[in-house]
């Protein structure tokens, strides 16, 4: 538990073809380097889970790693569409992509149920929307005390949960701060987990707003400075907003995307890429 290893070894050990894999990080601390390593290792038929599939999922989908996407908002934030995602959904390129679509509140609660060892979560949500008819993992549930009808969603329990954090200590305890999203829930809900970190330190001094994941809750840790780029790691890096803008052009065209993938992901080791 909390074993420190290389990113390549961690992905090889934890992520297998056909797995359900969640890479989380809400704008902040997105584990992009881990996603690139999954592409480099050529994983296939993955069910990818993520509230906000953005650039790294566009890349995974365009590289043909995914069979299915479970999500609540698929876009390039502040820029526009995810062209590889759209191409997969609308034209089945490079492979057809099955989708299971939720709202943020529903996805967040699905992780909560997974982290809590419950088969489902209850929320006020979805009622009156057309999502109910399209998504089988949305069901009505009646309060046994008041008779009120609410909505149930099933737990998410990914085979592998991957997040990026600022730091870990040598014992494998992880610390992250700033916008912490659903990272704790993702790690706790997943059967296996990987945390990439900006740095490994001797001691995690307490910080305001920090979430700590004890070593025994994490399977593998890899030190990957800049591993969240083009998203950011508060205290370590700034968001690369130009990259998000540039992605719109690169991703619009299959050939441009394929060239980019060859040059920037497949043709590089993790050390070169970060």
């Amino acid at each position: 538990m909390g074993v420190i290893t290389s990113l390549a070894d961690a992905i090889a050990e934890l992520v297998h073809d056909g797995d359900t894999v969640a890479l989380e990080g809400f704008t902040h601390l997105i584990p992009v380097a881990a996603g690139h390593e999954i592409i480099r290792q050529g994983r296939r038929d993955l069910t990818l889970v993520r509230m906000t599939p953005d650039i790294v999922y566009d890349q995974l989908i365009g590289a043909g790693c995914a069979r299915k996407l479970i999500f609540s908002w698929a876009g390039n934030p502040g820029v526009g569409s995810l062209h590889r995602f759209r191409d997969a959904v609308q034209h089945g390129w490079p492979t057809p992509l099955e989708i299971e679509e939720h709202s943020h509140a529903g996805m967040a609660n699905r992780y909560v149920a997974g982290a809590a060892g419950l088969p489902f979560a209850v929320l006020r949500g979805y009622r009156g929307t057309d999502l109910v008819a399209q998504t089988p993992t949305i069901a009505p549930i009646t309060c046994p005390f008041t008779g009120e009808v609410l909505t149930a969603v099933p737990a998410l329990t990914p085979d592998v949960g991957i997040v990026h954090a600022q730091r870990a200590d040598r014992a494998g305890n992880v610390q992250l701060w700033g916008i912490t999203g659903v990272q704790k829930e993702t790690v706790l809900a997943s059967r296996r987990s990987l945390v990439t970190v900006e740095e490994i330190v001797d001691e995690l001094e307490p910080r305001p707003g920090a979430v700590v994941l004890p070593s025994w809750t994490v399977t593998r840790i890899a030190e990957v400075p800049g591993g969240a780029h083009p998203s950011y790691a508060m205290g370590y890096s700034e968001r690369d907003n130009d990259y998000y803008q540039a992605w719109d052009t690169i991703s619009r065209d299959r050939a441009a995307f394929t060239a980019w993938l060859g040059e920037h992901v497949l043709g590089r080791s993790v050390e070169e890429a970060s």
Partner: protein
Amino acid sequence: MTAQATPTPAGVADWSSDEMMTIEAARALRDGTRCFVGIGRPSTAANLARRTHAPNLVLIYESGTIGAKPGRLPLSIGDGVLAETADAVVSVPEIFNYWLQPGRIDVGFLGAAQLDRYGNINTTVIGDDYADPKVRLPGAGGAPEIAASCREVIVIVQHSRRAFVDRVDFVTSVGYGSGAGDRERLGLTGRGPVRVITDLGVLEPDPDTDELILTRVHPGVEPEQVRAATGWHLAFAPDLATTAPPTAEELAALRDLR
């Protein structure tokens, strides 16, 4: 969102219709209001309000930042400046479960790809077939529950027949469903979309039917021009008014923000 260089009608002062829309949206936020803010125009308008007439506006972003006081316009919903300046930063499950869901938020601020005569919003797919869409849009995000649970919802969207449709292709977020009484039947606790602010004017629900009607036009805009840009036969309010033009202070604050 960058300001558009849309030419303004002759005789009207030097501002764009996009600026008018954003300023009018900012004005809709009373000081002290708790506002759940989406990125893009809603965030610009909310931050403008905080710098002009509503310094105590409480900005809440779905990234978990409560009471953010950014010194510059945040570039994403999870911009570091939001966490650094917030009263509290909570997890994403918590922001939805403890803060949005119970109806603690006064105003939800949404955009839309399509919006219909009952204020229902589509951000999922264009086209009749969900499985084979004409255009695949980003999807729901936080919008369905913002639309359901905020005490009021304000929608900002550019006016066009493509966006303003008789019936949305897909109901991502419920406005008034198929009309008055539907929200109650669905158990939605908030009031629904009380105002739709566009680059041409302002739509509000008819008090009896909850159908959106034109209550205001922006300076230099003709009511028929708005009707022409709307995909249903847009009704005009009996007391149809004209929006006050942007003040120099509002324009300066908005341009400074961008």
